[in-house]
Symmetry: C2
C-alpha cells in the first residue's frame, strides 16, 4: 500500500502535469498528458445495482500501470440547458502520460475483465481522447 | 502574476482535490469536485484560424474566479474504434469546487464574452457535468 507521502507526491505530480492552475493559464500553458473521457449509458438507468457494478468496474481500471489518474463521476445537478447532456449514467476520466500509454491499457487483462463483466450493463458508450491543445 | 511557488501549491491542491492517484484508488476514493466537460465542433473544422480563436477563447475562461483548473484539448490520434468520437474540434475540462461554482461562471462577463465572440464558430457543443461517484 502506498504511503500518504507517496500519494501526495503522486497527486502533486499529476496536478502539475495534467491540470493547469487557473492563475498559471494567464501566462503559460502547462504541459498535460492524454485525457481519456468515457461516458456510459446503462441499459437499466434506474438500477442502483447495475450502476454500482459499473462504478466498481471503472474503479478497477485505476490499477492498470499506465493509468496515472482517474476521476469517476455521475451526472451533476447543474442548471438544465439545451447543450447539457445529463442522460449518461457514469463517466470516467483517465489520465495517461501519452498516446502510447493507451495501447497497453486497452490490452490489459484488467481492462479486458472490465469489458467482459460490465459491457452487458451499458447500451451506449462514447469515448473522447484529447491531447493538450 | 502568481509566483512559481504559488502555482505549484495550487497545482498540488488541485491534484489532491481533483485527481485520485491510481495507487490510492486501491484503498480509497479521493474526494473530487465538479468536472465540467465541454466538446466543440467547429462549423469550419479545417480552419486553423477558427480553431486558434476558439482555443484562445476557451483559455480565457481560466481567469474566472471559480475555475480551479482547466485542460484544453484537441482530439488525440489514438486507435480508431467504433466507440471513439474524434470528430470534435476542441475540448475543455473545467474543475470547480462544487456545483455552486458553476453558476457565477455561467454568468461571468468573461464567459459571456467568450460566448459572444466564439459561438458563431461552432456548429455543435455538448456539455457533460460530473460529480464524484
Amino acid at each position: 500500500m502506498p504511503t500518504r507521502r507517496a500519494f501526495l507526491a503522486t497527486a502533486a505530480t499529476l496536478g502539475a502535469a495534467t491540470v493547469a492552475s487557473a492563475a498559471s493559464m494567464n501566462s503559460a500553458t502547462t504541459p498535460a498528458p492524454l485525457v481519456h473521457h468515457v461516458f456510459f449509458w446503462l441499459k437499466n438507468p434506474g438500477s442502483k445495482a447495475d450502476l454500482a457494478q459499473l462504478l466498481a468496474g471503472i474503479r478497477s481500471l485505476a490499477a492498470i500501470e499506465t493509468v496515472r489518474g482517474i476521476h469517476v463521476g455521475v451526472p451533476a445537478s447543474t442548471e438544465k440547458r439545451d447543450v447539457v447532456d445529463n442522460s449518461y449514467s457514469a463517466s470516467e476520466i483517465l489520465f495517461f502520460d501519452d498516446t502510447a500509454g493507451q495501447k497497453p491499457y486497452q490490452d490489459h487483462p484488467l481492462h479486458q475483465k472490465f469489458v467482459a463483466e460490465c459491457s452487458h450493463l451499458w447500451s451506449k458508450v462514447v469515448v473522447y481522447d484529447a491531447v493538450p491543445a
